[in-house]
């Protein structure tokens, strides 16, 4: 019961802040809403009994990625950026495209096996770090290594782009 109340608090805040991200005019306010949204996601991960993923969510997304977002956005001319709208009202085809996308997602979710997933065992919040580590380094070693390689390539790309001689 208590868990359900917490779930609704987090879920409503997450959806509300996600809507605020796209509807607020000021980009800095949008980043703050995104931060709130990510924090609620972390809370939902805890409710799904995966505290490790929750902490990583806060660590990586809120602690690092969003700070870099802010870093860049703070350099913008906020007054000018706030005036421009992302989707201008005249473009009907954008709205049609978004509608089609929404329909597709609803169809996909309703036909997927998401509903077959069982609820996590209640009250078990320990040992998850070890489990995640073991799964990553045994069963999912190939995807894990491929992902790290891709990240390394992206890192090198960023360094190459940032070099002064190439500008």
């Amino acid at each position: 019961m208590a868990e359900q109340i917490f779930f609704f608090v987090f879920a409503i805040l997450a959806v509300g802040s996600a809507i605020a991200v796209v509807s607020l005019r000021n980009p800095v306010h949008s980043v703050i809403s995104l931060m709130v949204c990510f924090l609620q996601m972390a809370a939902l991960f805890v409710m799904l009994r995966s505290p490790f993923i929750a902490v990583v969510q806060v660590f990586v997304y809120v602690g690092a990625v969003l700070v870099l977002f802010l870093f860049v956005i703070m350099m913008l001319d906020i007054a000018k950026a706030g005036m421009e709208r992302f989707v201008s009202g005249g473009k009907l085809w954008v709205i049609a495209l978004l509608g089609a996308l929404l329909l597709e997602m609803v169809l996909m979710i309703s036909r997927s096996r998401l509903s077959a997933i069982t609820a996590p065992a209640a009250g078990r919040l320990t040992g998850t770090v070890r489990e995640v580590g073991e799964a990553l380094f045994t069963k999912y070693i190939l995807p894990f290594e491929v992902v790290s390689l891709i990240l390394l390539v992206a890192l090198l790309g960023a360094i190459v782009l940032g070099r002064k001689e190439l500008r």
Binding site: N26, V28, H29, I32, M35, P51, F52, V55, V56, V58, F59, V62, G63, A64, V67, L68, L70, F71, M74, L125, T126, G127, T128, V129
Partner: protein, 327 residues
């Protein structure tokens, strides 16, 4: 039911203690500064100036809360709170000692609010959030120097967070657990991690100083070049919240160093564990204050090259060597 009640009481007690700590700390900092610089420090209010922090508190409370006309009013108001909350939330998983039995009720109490499986990761993640208060405070002021202070702090904190986290990995590899209680238990009997991870300790201490914006790394509020940095436009209680955050961060960083490297509440048996713990934390706080009045401030490019070119490679080498030794 009694468990829930106990958690509630612990949260309130810890919050109140942490909230009150900056009062004595400001006094101690000014007194230490005074004696290092061969003067008396605060001396007028109360014997040896001991009531000075209360006088300062009253003064700050009754000052006018000025919001600049061109500031972003919403963010300007909320930024000090955003800075303050993570500094307090960190204490949710910090252990202060072993179990104690309450004298009258005969009930065993753990001296921590929660022993999380991901303790150290949680603390590093949450502590990283306090940078938002500084960035947003600097940006919302809509003024040159605070903005520069905010930008400096975001770059500084991201850079040093890496070295800080990597320094923890060595400890985690030795102890085989992320839980702070396990980390302290593994060090009992003088097997302090500082003996096994001396390089990690040095990296953690230096990166910690940068993370809590203390001299020699206090560039976000560099008075010499930035006026007062990110909080230049703040006054009254909102300014006090920023100061409070800095002192709480200093305390939690000292506690973290004690837990990770100095054996937590481990010590000779003639004093209870909690006393050893508090003594070690007090010593570290003193060292941090001592550093402030001994060393000059680094230049910004020096700060960045120390973080990326010295501390980060050193911490990676430390992880590699620790791994080789363990294998």
């Amino acid at each position: 039911m009694i468990e829930l009640l106990l958690i509630g009481i612990k949260v309130v007690v810890v919050t109140l203690i942490v909230f009150a700590l900056p009062l004595p700390l400001t006094y101690i900092e000014r007194k230490v500064a005074g004696h290092i610089q061969v003067r008396l420090g605060p001396y007028r209010v109360g014997p040896h100036g001991i009531l000075q922090p209360f006088a300062d508190m009253v003064k700050l409370m009754f000052k006018e809360d000025i919001i600049p006309a061109k500031a972003d009013p919403w963010l300007f108001r909320i930024a000090p709170v955003i800075a303050m909350v993570p500094a307090f939330v960190v204490f949710a998983t910090i252990p202060f000692g072993e179990k104690v039995t309450l004298p009258i009720l005969n009930y065993e109490v753990n001296l921590y609010i929660s022993n999380m499986d991901t303790g150290i990761l949680y603390i590093l993640a949450i502590a990283g959030l306090s940078v938002y208060g500084i960035i947003l405070g600097g940006w919302a002021s809509n003024s040159k120097y605070p903005l520069l202070g905010g930008l400096r702090s975001s770059a500084q904190m991201i850079s040093y967070e890496l070295a800080l986290s990597f320094a923890c990995i060595g400890v985690v590899m030795i102890v085989n657990s992320l839980s702070l209680v396990d980390i302290v238990k593994a060090q009992s009997g003088w097997h302090w991690n500082i003996l096994y991870q001396p390089v990690g300790f040095v990296i953690f201490f230096i990166a910690g100083l940068a993370e809590i914006n203390r001299i020699p790394f206090d560039l976000p509020e560099d008075e010499g070049t930035l006026g007062a940095g990110y909080h230049a436009e703040y006054s009254s209680m909102r300014f006090a919240f920023f100061m409070l955050t800095e002192y709480v961060a200093m305390v939690s960083m000292s506690i973290l160093i004690v837990l990770l490297f100095l054996g937590g509440w481990d010590g000779p048996a003639f004093l209870p564990g909690i006393v050893w713990f508090l003594l070690k934390v007090a010593m570290l706080i003193y060292i941090i204050i001592w550093t402030r009045f001994t060393y000059p401030r680094y230049r910004y490019d020096q700060l960045m090259s120390i973080g990326w070119k010295i501390l980060l490679p050193l911490s990676l080498a430390n992880i590699l060597i620790t791994g080789l030794v363990i294998i």
